[in-house]
């Protein structure tokens, strides 16, 4: 069975997923771009600082191993930054994670493939000391940080999704409660109660047409049942007299000791049975004319012609007595007028 609630939930969930994906992508793209710039500027800054330091120290060590110790690093991201300082094309100082060959031959920023790893490299050249300062950073480290930043910023949004869905679920549940109450009310009705449904709460506009249609249907059903009941009652009423006549004549025959009288009473009994049979056939014909299938459809109708046809069909001319019940003729005409076939 299709559930409105589930359908709404699925759609809302899909919508959230799309929005979430969009936001995630935008956040990731934005953050990575910002972080790249931040890191780039850091590379440049570090290069600048190194230039100052190397100038001040006037490093001119030749032949010694100018590598820096690993344990001087303080920050967990910092160790990934590698640097090289060349003087007159000679490597005079470099970090432990840097290679001994020059990482970039072009000034400024560039991407370099070194030992199967992609690096972001910045090269700075001083004129007076003929020094080359190179700072570099591995892309995978950068990406890791970018990813970390993005996921951190997406955490709250991701956590919000189940909470939002829960709130929506409750909201829909609340919204659907009139339907449940209406259902309960209809469920507890007795089958013979065809009165319109009345509720002591506001019917939401979405289900109001359904509610109205239901009450309309009940109304029509009530009319139909009423007509049916009246017809049955009229039919029973019309049959009372023929039955009484049959019974009386039969009892007269039973009580009589006179052959002629008995014969007369029996003939009258049979006459009465024939008449009752005919009447039952007429009633059945009437019942077939009583329409239930075409409830509520109205169209113009030539009552006079219809009455004539009916009278011919039902042989009323020769059995005026049988259809003398005004209510039956009235019912018949009314039912024909309101429900033409």
């Amino acid at each position: 069975m299709k559930s409105i609630r589930n359908r709404i939930l699925i759609w809302v969930f899909l919508l959230f997923l799309i929005i979430w994906a969009g936001i995630s992508y935008a956040t990731f793209y934005q953050s990575s771009h910002e972080v790249e710039e931040l890191f780039d500027s850091e590379l440049a800054q570090v290069a600048g600082v190194l230039t100052q330091i190397s100038t001040a120290l006037e490093l001119k060590h030749a032949g010694i191993e100018p590598r820096l110790q690993k344990d001087v690093y303080g920050h967990r991201y910092e160790k990934k930054i590698a640097f090289q300082i060349f003087e007159n094309n000679k490597l005079i100082l470099y970090s432990a994670n840097a290679p001994t060959t020059i990482m970039s031959k072009e000034n400024g920023f560039s991407d370099q493939m070194i030992n199967n790893k992609l690096w972001r490299v910045f090269r700075l050249q001083t004129k007076e000391h003929e020094q080359e300062i190179i700072t570099a950073e591995r892309y995978d480290v950068r990406d890791e940080i970018v990813l970390k930043i993005t996921t951190d910023s997406l955490y709250p949004l991701t956590l919000m999704i189940p909470i939002l869905l829960l709130i929506i679920w409750i909201g829909i549940d609340r919204g659907l409660s009139p339907i449940r109450r209406l259902t309960r009310q209809i469920w507890h009705r007795s089958p013979d109660n065809l009165e319109p449904i009345s509720v002591n709460f506001d019917i939401p506009s979405e289900i109001n047409p359904l509610f109205t249609a239901l009450n309309n249907l009940l109304d029509k059903l009530k009319d139909a049942f009423e007509r049916e009941r009246r017809f049955t009652s009229d039919a029973a009423h019309e049959l009372q007299t023929p039955l009484a006549s049959i019974k009386t004549q039969a009892q007269v025959a039973l009580r009589s000791q006179n052959k002629n009288e008995q014969h007369h009473a029996l003939e009258k009994t049979i006459e009465g049975i024939n008449r009752a049979t005919h009447m039952v056939q007429q009633l059945l014909a009437l019942a077939r004319l009583e329409p239930l299938a075409t409830l509520g459809q109205k169209s113009e109708l030539d009552l006079y012609a219809l009455t004539q046809t009916l009278m011919a069909e039902l042989d009323i001319e020769s059995h005026k007595k049988i259809l003398s019940s005004a209510s039956m003729v009235r019912n018949l005409l009314i039912s024909k007028a309101t429900n033409p076939q």
Partner: protein, 218 residues
């Protein structure tokens, strides 16, 4: 006993009339309300059997007219309407009893007897007069315990006069009561019946009042 039956259904009317005739009632049968009203004005009856759905004039209207004229005629209504309210309405308008169709002929006849009995101020089913005991239900008559056979017309004459002891009946009244208007009756039929009754039951039972009619003294 003269009964007016008003029933517009030909087969039912015929059946009820036959049933009443079997019990030796004198029955006039009419099929429309207008005729019934007229008959009630001109003739006297002991009981009215009335259908409610009648052409020309409805049973209830006839009933209303009867009671308006302070007529105490017992009325038994026969109708196909069997809703309680209809019954209540009929009885409230002055009917004495009510039978819904289809009914049992025996029940109808029993109710007719009960109504006639009550209208004559009697509660027991038999009539006693001196050594005579007359049973209208079984149509039997005993004189000092011995059964006396009477033809229906004599029995009815005796029953009529016993029901109204002390009342003087004219010959015309007796004829009308016994035969209604449908039959050709010998002009001296009543005298013949009285003669036969006196022979069988004794001369002192029915007294002749010259120039007026006959009476059974209380």
């Amino acid at each position: 006993m003269r009964i007016l039956l008003v029933e517009d259904d030909p087969i039912l009317g015929d059946g009820i009339k036959s049933g009443l005739l079997q019990d030796q009632y004198n029955v006039d049968w009419l099929t429309n309300g207008g005729q019934a009203s007229q008959a009630l004005e001109t003739d006297s009856y002991d009981l009215l059997l009335l259908d409610l759905n009648l052409p020309v004039k409805s049973g209830l209207d006839i009933l209303k007219d009867i009671r308006k004229n302070n007529n105490t005629l017992p009325v038994l209504i026969l109708t196909a309407r069997d809703a309680t309210e209809d019954r209540v309405k009929g009885l409230d308008m002055g009917a004495d009893d009510y039978l819904s169709k289809p009914f049992d002929l025996d029940e109808l006849l029993a109710r007719v007897r009960a109504l006639l009995r009550r209208s004559k101020g009697r509660t027991t089913p038999t009539l006693q007069h001196g050594r005579l005991e007359l049973n209208p239900v079984e149509h039997t008559l005993t004189l000092s315990g011995k059964t006396v056979d009477l033809p229906p017309s004599e029995f009815n004459l005796l029953l009529l006069m016993l029901e109204d002891r002390g009342r003087v009946f004219s010959r015309g009244q007796l004829e009308e009561n016994l035969y209604g208007w449908n039959k050709n009756v010998d002009s001296n039929a009543i005298e013949v019946h009285v003669h036969h009754l006196r022979k069988k039951l004794g001369n002192e039972l029915i007294r002749t009042i010259r120039g007026v009619g006959y009476v059974i003294d209380k």
